[in-house]
């Protein structure tokens, strides 16, 4: 674990954080204007579909953060550079929160549209399982007191989880085609109108900025904590 954790990497983060915060705020303001006023209500669903502007981006970034987590764990296995472990550790709670937001907004949107809070649909179920994969990763870090060991173990688990994500997706789809009641119409509209696509992309950009801001803040905290624990170890030695 005693590879280089250069301070200069994190000075860059320090310098960029205010810009990230400002970009996040501005893009959220523009995005929510377009999402709430600037775009037309849906032809069938009315205003309730506006929650899609929060729901869809958070589902995208939840999936993306898990890929980032798993890829950085894989790179850590190859290079053993502790930065990648810190990246994985700091993105895990953010990804978990994004998954939770996607699930909660999805069920709030489902109530007026499907008439129920929750449907055992393939996509919903695999998102729920993804949430538990995140939780397992986070809890494993907390459960092992030796941080060096915890990083090795949780990296292995994240990689196995990443192999498992497509298997879960495939199996849940399979299960769903067997048990799917035909009455529920799925939300599948491949051609979204441009007037809705633009606010969606702005909101996606805003949530991505938010994710990166939170991520850089957390990465700095993890970095400082690692340095503190190393200094403490030096004192004991």
């Amino acid at each position: 674990m005693y590879l280089k954790l250069k301070k200069s990497y994190f000075d860059v983060l320090d310098r960029f954080t205010p810009f990230l915060v400002i970009t996040t705020i501005i893009s959220f303001i523009i995005g929510s204007y377009f999402a709430l006023y600037g775009s037309p209500p849906d032809y069938i669903q009315g205003d309730s579909m506006r929650i899609m502007y929060v729901h869809v981006p958070s589902a995208w970034w939840a999936l993306m953060s898990y890929s980032v987590l798993a890829v950085s764990c894989t790179i850590w296995f190859i290079t053993r550079n502790p930065i990648f472990n810190l990246v994985a550790k700091s993105i895990a709670p953010i990804g978990a929160v994004f998954t939770l937001i996607a699930l909660v907004t999805g069920s709030i949107w489902g109530k007026p549209t499907w008439g129920v809070w929750w449907v055992w649909d393939a996509r919903l179920t695999s998102m729920l399982l993804l949430f538990f994969l995140y939780l397992a990763y986070i809890f494993l870090w907390q459960a092992i007191s030796n941080k060096d060991l915890a990083s090795k173990i949780s990296a292995a688990l994240a990689m196995i989880g990443f192999i498992n994500v497509p298997i879960i997706k495939f199996s849940v789809d399979w299960w769903n085609t067997l048990h799917q009641p035909a009455s529920i119409s799925k939300f599948s509209s491949p051609s979204i109108d441009e007037s809705m696509l633009v606010p969606l992309f702005i909101m996606a950009f805003a949530s991505l900025c938010f994710l990166i801001t939170m991520f850089s803040v957390r990465l700095r905290i993890e970095f400082i904590e690692t340095r503190i624990s190393r200094l403490r170890q030096k004192i004991y030695d």
Partner: protein, 210 residues
Amino acid sequence: MKSLYDLINRDLKIAFFTSSNFLFTGSFYILVVVLIPFIFGSDSEQLRVIFKGIIWISISLSILLTLERIFYSDYEDGSLDLILQRYNSLEIIICAKFIAHWIINCLPLIVILPFLSLLFQLSFSDIFPILINLVIGSTGMVFVATFVSALTLGAKRTIFLKGIILIPLLVPFIIFGVDPHSWPILIALSMMSFVISIYASSYGLRLYGE
């Protein structure tokens, strides 16, 4: 081959002479099944449907409950260190754990399942596809449980944490297990988890062996 036999023999002896007896595992399954009519009433048509599902719940529960017996109990009393020194091939140790754990935990259910199905008026031809799926699926589940057990050796003794790690990994087995026609996919999944499990468990054991 001799060392594989020795290790399996050791685990089976421990299981036979301590509390983790075959009788105990068997009674656990029977008791889980006995709970079904208390919950869902005695309508036999409904019970028959539920029974097929409860088998999978009971096998994943028993895999979860006995997760710590795969490596943790050996780790705790120090015999894991001795085993790691005595047998220099990690793969042999892991394969022995697969076989011994499957015999102790999953075999009792497979043996008593035809008799349990009599309680629900299911004939042997009804239960046969489930039995086949159960043999394949439980093998895969044991592979998964072994590497989860090896990787969480250093974690504090929290069975709930291990459950959160384990159960999402068991979901594919359960999904394909309840469908009687999907046994080829189940075989594929089990073989895949065998390969992953060999690597992941030896990684875990190597970390703690140091």
